[in-house]
Symmetry: D4
Subunit: 223 residues, 8 copies
């Protein structure tokens, strides 16, 4: 079968890079270190860069002897193995974050967008309790091709940001909160029910997906 | 039994005014016109003013011949029958409303607060999609003893308002929205999960309860 | 207050067009014909085009005498009033639809994107039960700057489409289905939990929001 | 930017005290000891008192060497660092608690209200299974400017208390219970659906928010 | 097949009276008048009394010509056809009701218990907003063999009643309420999470089931 | 495009019969009479029999003039148009039904299975309240190649049936019930959580899907 | 205050035994060993027997040195301290259990009923997958004054048992199961939606409450 | 009692093999090693093969000394003890798996089907992100008597597979995912709401039940 590397427990989709502009990505939970190792090697042998999300430090520790060129991105809980150069950055993506506890999700989004060719500007801790912290950054956000906004708890920051700019906003709910936050469901619902048209949403804590979407929009900007 | 008027189908709690500073209120759904009529007469005979919430125009039409002094408040979907003078207004309560569709709930809150002795200032249609509409009213909100904020959809306006002032904010979610709004549950969750401490919340569409709470706070201001 | 037209029951945000590249839009449910009329006139007087979503035929019938230039878009359940010319179309947005019952939502998305300056290509009834119907359109989808995919029931079509192309995909769940569809929640969950990174999602039946997001991405393509 | 201290991972909102009468508060879960330390120092350097909620004993142990003046409030799971004198107490807030297991949430509310200038009276273990335990305290509750009522399980105590007094009641559901308690959702729903108007509600286990709201009401009493 | 009358669309379980002390009961929604008629005739022919719940007045109107001895119980929305004398009443069941709107459910319970041989005492409109209305009835409740307590909204009355007596309490949540009442789910959850041991619960609005359970307990009292 | 008939609003998948042994089926809700008419004609012109589910009598009345050979199956709420002879029946499928109100769903399953080539045996009204009614049919159920069991309310009949036989059981929850039945969710959950291995489940009220699955199993029996 | 022992963190309701025929019971989760110890001593000093539910073995180990007469009931996860003789047993309660994993909940019910004066008969592992195991016990169940039925997973055993007897059935859902069992919610819903009238239900895993209710019914049998 | 082995804590249903073609199976969670040991011995003494699901490696380690012939199937988390020869395999069941993390559930299904007499073909890692990986296996799937499809996240693979073949498809949702996956509920809902008739579904992670259902269908193929 072309464009597939059959490892038995997995069929690595080596055609994905050409088809989607994005290689297969490893979601680590539920996979053994040996499985992650084999998939990374398969991608490397196919001449593609590899990316793993939700990689625990213990997983990195278990693999770095086997893959010395492996890099661990602690703030994003991600692991990468690069075989070919990353694309030269072009165009701007902004990643805005409501609170300090949302940082790992925001950083996952930023890393994903950077590796797919975007310049990334990070704006941190500008939540609703003190909106004056956001205002100095509005002009910079208006210069971006796409804006990712990450928030937990009541999840209202994307609506505020989108109300001020004319750019596509991708909202990422996080599981930060307690009680009726229901691990991020409250934030997700707020984002889906925004009164500001043009906001789109991804799964709870899915910084990676938001970063990919922003990068795809950013690439569209080159057409 | 003192402080009770036994109508058979209902035991009107005539002691409530003295105990709570607020007479028994009639929630109309599920009650027949005859039942509402009897309760209003019972309160009138006890020398108390009467208030009914969620009163359909048809109910008012059915009762006004029997109770000529009955007043219908269409914007608030409420009905009142006054036997003694209302308290002279003192102190300020503000009622802020995110969108035009939220007006009936906001008006129910305003009417309740006014009848319990507050001056009420209404601020309408200042939702998140255009926050500059809210800013001119901030000083006025800071002058109120309590601020009621009514919003549907993502329900984030109470957080924004509370972040700007030092007054107690009572948030009222409305059932305005569609899809994952789930008839106001999304707005309710956003309000409960606010990152701004000091906000308290009532049931979906419960403008009456919010108005009562604001009026009780306003009365505390006289102590 | 600049950029605001205070109608009493509403504060029309006339600055939104400049700030967001998109005038204020009227969500009709819960508004009286008089309210919709006044908001449309306010936008017209500000020299802006007007758009109303979820407009029942009865609402259009009630308003067309007052606003002869009003246009009703039955397939999209929308109403428009144009004062200035629409932008010349540029760039391609595709709107893909899983089944016949999903058409009104898809048409709302297409109309919104067209009015905001995109060429729109519609691809109808290509759901999972017969995926060979989708394949002839893949090249055309790869030519779009953004692809909107509308689906009810199990909501899996966006994943299939996104797996075949390198463009941003905006998924719109619809309320088509029964039983555990829960009025579109099943489709929404499928879209949020996609295994294909880069898909973003809007609220159930929110064709308008998806069309706006696609048009914003399309405009980014001009930078 | 005035009124902001940019720490990189956080933008401490030093203007909040003036704007809201309440400094920024640290919600500890998801923050590293170093992050909490830096925020406390930032507030101290701004001449403000600091408060952290949900602070584990281990966190306090990690920080007390760095911040010798740090105080740990074990019963409330809170941590404080005072730089300026607390306000002199004035006015009464009551904190009523249904059962022994609800005590940590009640104590968090009491501590917050005390630090914001209220005298606090605590009434413990007066749940519905033996309501005669509540009765001796009714006169004292009627003397308070605001009453916080904390309850888990069926969450009905706020309705009983509010039915007996004419003061604003803030209800706090706790996560105490099992099975269909759903970690406090049952208690929350009971409180939102009270038949006693004037009760407002905060998030599950949010003693802090209830204490702040009560203190804001108490301050209103001084106007 | 013994103990069964096969009507084609139904197999009437004529053995149920002997096995359970209770004939088969007709739940009317979803059944045609002809189907209800045939089942009532089948029970009559078997020499058993018949009972139908949730019978609309229109259904009764359609059947009374065919079954002249049919009786309609409007307050309980029930329909009965008696072929043999009812059992002589013995022992006491109390049915307590929180509010006027809960009366149809309470009356269904009372009717069921009466027909199964209990004396029934009704206590109406003694909800939490004025608990002093309940107190005069406590001695009478202590004399009952079982107490049914019917309540909507926050559903807390069963806990208060059970805390005062030593008799089995059967709680019936009703769908009275709005917003987060979720058609009675809030009341149900409160009843299931009671802090007063010994309360048992039936489905929302299931007055009939509660009446049957109370009557079965009452019959046990004769052993 | 082969195997597709493009009607503009729909792409009829005429290849489905060959691929799946089952022509495309029309789910009527949300489709106009003209749309259903066009799809039926497309299938007829392709030489295939047509089947529509959830067809209201009004829809049939609107179409029978245009399609004189159209047949309405009132008990199953279905509509069929046959162009070629149905397959000769072979093998047995049993359809078991808990109560009279569940009959429409059961009949939809029976009709679907019959049209796909099975003999169907119907067993009606054998619910848990009188299990002795089921016992005489056990031998007949053991003779079937597949058994469909339809039940609402607590949804337990499939477990009882499956515990007695060695045949595949397909469980169909119905929306019959009230309160916490949640329109069939309670029955669905019971069926998914059965302690009897070998039961599989379809969506609430999905008699058609169950009938198709049973017929596919029945055809397997011919191999 | 009479009938109350104020321990500071708790107000032990020593009047409960007289009022309810049942002393205050300790729910151990969330209480410290010192708190449990103090409450047990308070009850002992009041001349009452004490009972604690959900008592971990570690808690017993911590307390037995202080309270040598303390008894640990491992199968029921309960702890008792008897100061006066238990009532002489009279009347029969049956406790039926669907599967081996449900035993701890069933044993908690049995222990509670025994201590409140009932003879208890235990019937174990008679779930729906093999109903013939239940049949030999039907006569014995018919001799009981109340029957407790404990089941997890699909929770259908109470319906089957109640369909065979004329005694009050108290159903206890357990959290045994996985996936859509949702920790016992599926079983609870099945029990609430039973088609067999007369079944009442308690909270998930609440064996204690079921045992108390059964014992109260059993005591009624003595009247 | 015939066909039952009473162990006190369990009544082993030794008649199940004859009645259902499948011996009693042990679900390990919540059972002690001694209980599992006793049930395995009971089945062995009855001359039947034994199967335990969700068996932790520690449980196997605890039992293998007592039962030397015990076999542990690590990939399926299962444990077996064979006393008589397994049936000779006949007929084909396919088990298709969307991703690597779904393998344990798929393997449990495969093992169950094999032990009940089917040849099993495994197809792994053919999820929607790269559907070309599935296509080479379509002919093989068409040769199976039943096809089990295992998927987590958006759970759409069963719809795609069923759309291509004419065989019964049993869908198994897994708990793989995060956020709104809600431990497999999203996948379950997608499978229940499939637009492809003929798919049936089992509980989340219930590979065993799917394997049994597939084997029962496969045996039907022999009739």
């Amino acid at each position: 079968m072309p464009d597939v590397d059959d490892l038995g427990f997995a069929r690595v989709d080596t055609g994905r890079l050409k088809r989607r502009g994005l290689s297969e990505v490893v979601f680590c939970p539920g996979k053994t270190p040996d499985q992650v190792l084999a998939i990374f090697r398969s991608l490397r042998d196919a001449g593609q860069n590899a990316f793993a999300t939700r990689a625990a430090p213990e997983l990195y520790a278990a693999l770095r002897a086997e893959l010395p060129e492996l890099v661990y991105h602690a703030a994003a809980r991600a692991m990468t193995l690069d075989t070919v150069p990353l694309p030269a950055p072009s165009g701007l993506v902004a990643v805005v974050c409501a609170g300090t506890s949302d940082l790992p999700v925001a950083e996952e989004a930023a890393l994903a967008a950077e590796r797919l060719g975007a310049h990334v500007e990070r704006v941190t801790d500008v939540g609703l309790a003190g909106l004056h912290r956001l205002m100095p950054f509005v002009d910079r956000l208006r210069a971006a091709r796409a804006v990712v906004v990450v928030a937990g708890m009541e999840g209202a920051l994307p609506s505020v940001v989108a109300g001020l700019i004319d750019r596509p906003v991708i909202a990422v709910p996080t599981s930060i909160g307690y009680g009726t936050s229901m691990n991020g469901v409250a934030a997700l619902l707020a984002m889906l029910n925004t009164c500001v048209p043009g906001i789109t949403v991804v799964n709870i804590d899915n910084g990676f997906g938001a970063g990919v979407a922003a990068a795809m929009i950013n690439r569209t900007g080159k057409d």
